[in-house]
Amino acid sequence: MTDTMKMQLDGQEVSFTEGETVLEVARREGTFVPTLCWDERLDPYGSCRLCVVEVEGRRIPASSCTLEAEEGMVVRTGSDKLRKMQSTLVEMVLSENPGDECPRCRDIGTCEVHELAEQFDVGRERFLGAISNASKEDSNPFLLRDYDRCISCFRCVRICAEVEGDYAITMTGRGWNKGIATAFGGPLMGSECTLCGQCIYTCPTGALADKKMVGQGSIPGKVEETRSICPYCGTGCSINLHARDGKMIGVTPALDGPVNEGALCVKGQFGFDFVNSNDRLTMPLVRKEGQLTPVSWDEALDYTAQRFKSIRAEHGPKAFYAIASGRAPGEGAYMLQKFTRAVMNSNQVDNCSRA
């Protein structure tokens, strides 16, 4: 029976279900196991080795993200030996990601690599000089690509293939020349890339980042995340809205969104400039002598109510018509039909589904 399976984690007996990896069990139990190439949306990959644990009966430590839990398994995390391995790994990775000039950390917020460096308290001195790969130029409007900072975790390649199904980027080369490129090595905009931006949100370093977020990190103030739904199509993908001081600054996919499971398309990821657009309407307008003129709410509301009243009195309920939005929240649609039916006394209401 699946629910009775047990293993030992750092001396504690814990239960697990069939198919769970040791990493999943550990995270569920609240045990700290660092990872880099792992992302909950992706199949486990096992390339960074940062998630190593000791398993009784095995000579060398194993990557917990690819290791399936087994009945009676005895696992230890975080021994001195493991911590030393992990901190060496972080140091190596760090050598490709000089912290003092990471644009991602500076402008957007700390990247996973530099968070780990902090946790393991390591610097980059030991491996300095071993920076791999190149290719900074990319003319696309959304994605910052700086593969100098690539640590070859291939999370971007995998998310592009496994989550987005686009297969726009692949792995090229070997060793220090290893890197990520589009199928023909060209810019993203000439490739199969749909600019969905999901690679930048899985990238644990500053190799891929959101061009729009650049500059945001240096502004003081707490960034609040609010769960919402993308307004761009009937799919209904879950997103997190990022705002500071009441102003929208960006969007990330909600990893547990029931429809999208952490995926988004280009519109959902990048289509939010309109909210902050400076041609948003900020005041009610009433036409006066032919011109739409800003007025107070009271004036606009009173005038509207009075005009509707007199038109109903003069021409009857059927002289009025209301069209609800198919994009705005449903409470507005409910109110508009109630207004039409109960106040104007007709069923002259529709939404925009016919056209």
Partner: protein
Amino acid sequence: MSNSIPEIEDCPMMLCVGTNMTECHPIIALRVKKAVRKGAKLFVVDPRKIPLAELADGHLQIQLGSDVALFNAMAKVIIDEDLHDKEYVEQRTEGFEELKKHLESFTLEYAEEISGVPKDLIRECAIEYGSAERAGIYYTLGITEHICGVSNVQSLCNLALITGNLGKRSAGVNPLRGQNNIQGAGDAGALPNNYPGFQDVTSAENREKFEKAWGVPLDPDKGITKITALDHAVDGRLKAMWICGENTLVTDPDVKHTTKALESLDFFVVQDMFLTDTAQKAHVVFPAAAFTEVDGFFTNSDRRIQRIRKASDPPGEAKPDWWIIAEVAKRMESGVHFEYDSSREVFDELASVSPIYAGLDYDRIDSGELHWPVPDHDHPGTPVLHEGEFINGKGKLQLLDYVPPSENPDDEYPFYLTTGRRLPTYHTNTMTGRSEGFRILVPNEWLEIHPRDAEKLGFEDGDWARISSRRGDVTTRIAITRTSPVGTVFMSFAFPEETLTNNITNPDVDPITETPEFKVAAVAVERIDAPAGFSAEPALREGSGRDLPSHG
């Protein structure tokens, strides 16, 4: 949708009809791609070589508007080959014998002649669909934006009914909604024939219920559709209009007619985030808050009710839609309850009058797991509709005839024009157009034309053209591509300031839904010199424009 989106990935046979899914519903397309990777069969029915067709086992590249002929022929194959689900047909449908008889004339040869799809391919698709253990149909506007939109949908329903594919997981008949909350707006009662929850306004019982809820007598007659409303504005029967968040002037077919309608009104109110073309015609414009600035709900394509939440502050004095409407209502002194403190209270009232939302409140829709109907607070929601039985008893099989498009190419207007959407633009672009990045991706409109037609007309890629129909003309650039078949050209309607595509589209409507025939119009295309005043961008950006449909 009769079934939920996540179920798609376990569907072993998918029939995608008139849906450019990878561009219009990319995240639904992901589930389709996943299913294909798991070994599912995929058949695409679309006049254009859309990217989804590249993944398909078969692409039925049909003539515009020939759907009924095709699907009737498929139904005939399924019955002739004895692949129909006899038990289901017997227990849950009616009219099978009549249908069988009606389909006699829909031979493969006939369907091939009308639709242009090779008969072997029609047969293969029918047999795969008929023999699959579960088969799902997915469609969008390609099916409904026709004068015969209702017949098109019914011909698909016939297929699902005779094969028992309505009322089980990973199957069904699934319209994918274009706008994020078009489902929610209908659910909430913004329809001329239904109260909230699709309760018929002509039923005395329903009317009494709402008269009691709202405390006023209500109109027993159903209202007119918005398409008819525009006609009534022109002829003077309609004097006042209130439009929330819709750029009617740009979205409706035949712009001249719409302009005239709106200009005829004595009093016109628009509620929007921006001063759209439509708002510019208004007497009063209310500034609306954006979705990031309010609490509320969206109901998506698969009837899933989800929460949106306020994250940022509206600019200036912009307000939530519900607040604005309540404030006007209060000032009408009708005695009807319009005192609400929050959107939550509005939602609770909706749930109290709509049986399909009866079991919902903001707490229950918090995680977005529930699909309506949710009749009570313990109900787990309904991801699959029609399990066990249909609401109205038996599923009626429909006897449908093929009706050709209302406008067909002739000497004067020799091409079919069809319209659609391109991935990085949304509707009339009032939202995506304000994002610089999207302007770079799709800088402007263009007309897609097949190389053979281009050659005939002496066009080079990027040339300028005037496209005219019986209603008007527009100017745009040419992109030579094999995406559309010979004789059919394609445009979107995202750049109204330069290219008002609906100047030329066809306003003829389906007699039942009054949905206009956006998908088919006859047009002429002629070469012209570069006009002044258009943006200097080339029609297509290097290396991606022409192929844009295949990767956005």
